[in-house]
């Protein structure tokens, strides 16, 4: 029934709402990320085992968290798009996927760089890193499928189906990779599971996590706004937003 409510005003209303949020989201993201990272980099004490190399955690952990979180969000958007046929949800897939992919890349890259001083190798088939790598492939798959079709609507629907198939598989993949990892190298210490972190480290980490939450939201909002404009380009309001006066035909 949502479908029947203001089908034309909807894109515009969503666009304006997102526009109202965007400054707040980006502002909070900028402040919190800066505070979290500066604190983590310069003020938090060094780790007694890993020295200063552990400071990568302040980027790695939030990025890893929201790389998974964004995928879940994308799958929820996909479900809404398929069940209720809401177009904004279809566009949200295209907005979330690149953000999620970049976060996944960041988690993967920082994890690998961290691995070098820890394990002496740039790439270790660690369960978390392997999961992130597979997640990156899943994101790329969704993006590739989205843009493979000439008709944007068809591409969005296909990508939505794929996201849902993916989200069913993510826990299975996750479990299988962890299980496989324990099978092959049960003895290695996992660097991520800190039983107790002193508050001087935990607080900046939590701030950084909060910052990444807003960062993710702000990035998605920016891209979703673009996506709405792109799909509604022929409508007068969208052209006005882009600084062009629409030609409303002959009077």
């Amino acid at each position: 029934m949502w479908k029947w409510l203001h089908p034309y005003a909807k894109g515009e209303a969503t666009f304006r709402l997102l526009g109202a949020w965007l400054p707040w989201l980006s502002g909070l993201a900028l402040i919190l990320v800066s505070v979290g990272l500066v604190w983590g980099l310069f003020y938090a004490p060094p780790d007694y085992q890993q020295g200063d190399s552990y400071r990568i955690i302040f980027i790695h952990v939030p990025a890893a968290m929201f790389s998974m979180g964004a995928y879940t969000g994308m799958a929820i958007a996909a479900l809404i798009a398929l069940v209720w046929q809401i177009r904004t949800a279809e566009w949200a897939i295209a907005a979330i996927a690149p953000v999620g992919a970049v976060l996944t890349f960041v988690a993967l890259f920082t994890g690998a760089v961290w691995g070098k001083p820890m394990w002496g190798t740039w790439w270790e088939w660690d369960a978390r890193l392997t999961s992130e790598l597979i997640l990156l492939f899943l994101y790329i798959g969704v993006l590739a499928l989205y843009y493979a079709f000439n008709d944007a609507r068809t591409g969005a629907k296909a990508a939505a189906i794929l996201s849902l198939v993916g989200v069913v598989n993510v826990p299975i993949i996750h479990f299988s990779v962890y299980w496989w990892n324990s099978l092959h190298q049960g003895a290695t210490i996992t660097k991520f599971s800190k039983p107790s972190m002193p508050p001087e480290m935990l607080i900046p980490l939590l701030i950084s996590i909060a910052g990444f939450l807003f960062l993710t939201a702000a990035l998605i909002t920016q891209r979703l706004r673009n996506e709405i404009l792109k799909q509604e380009l022929h409508r007068p309001w969208a052209m006005q937003q882009l600084g062009v006066e629409a030609n409303n035909g002959v009077q």
Partner: protein
């Protein structure tokens, strides 16, 4: 402050390269994403201009047709 000098901050107990590489590439990646979003907006503005021109062409054509049909109607009546 866990460090006493700039050198210490950069050196990071020997881990400086890894820490700064991680932070640098991460910030670069997110920055590129933001820039890409802004560039997309620019491209959209260009597409909007094209759309406007297309609409104008169609409108002009429609007006021509309308005035022509009006004139033929006038002459027959």
């Amino acid at each position: 402050m866990a460090f006493n000098s700039w050198q210490e901050i950069i050196w990071m107990d020997g881990y400086g390269f890894y820490v700064w590489l991680s932070f640098g590439v991460s910030i670069l990646a997110v920055g590129l994403l933001v820039v890409h979003g802004l560039l997309t907006r620019k491209t959209l503005a260009r597409m909007a201009v094209q759309e406007q021109q297309r609409q104008q062409r169609l409108a002009r054509r429609k007006q021509q047709e309308r005035s022509r049909s009006k004139s033929t109607n006038d002459s027959t009546s």
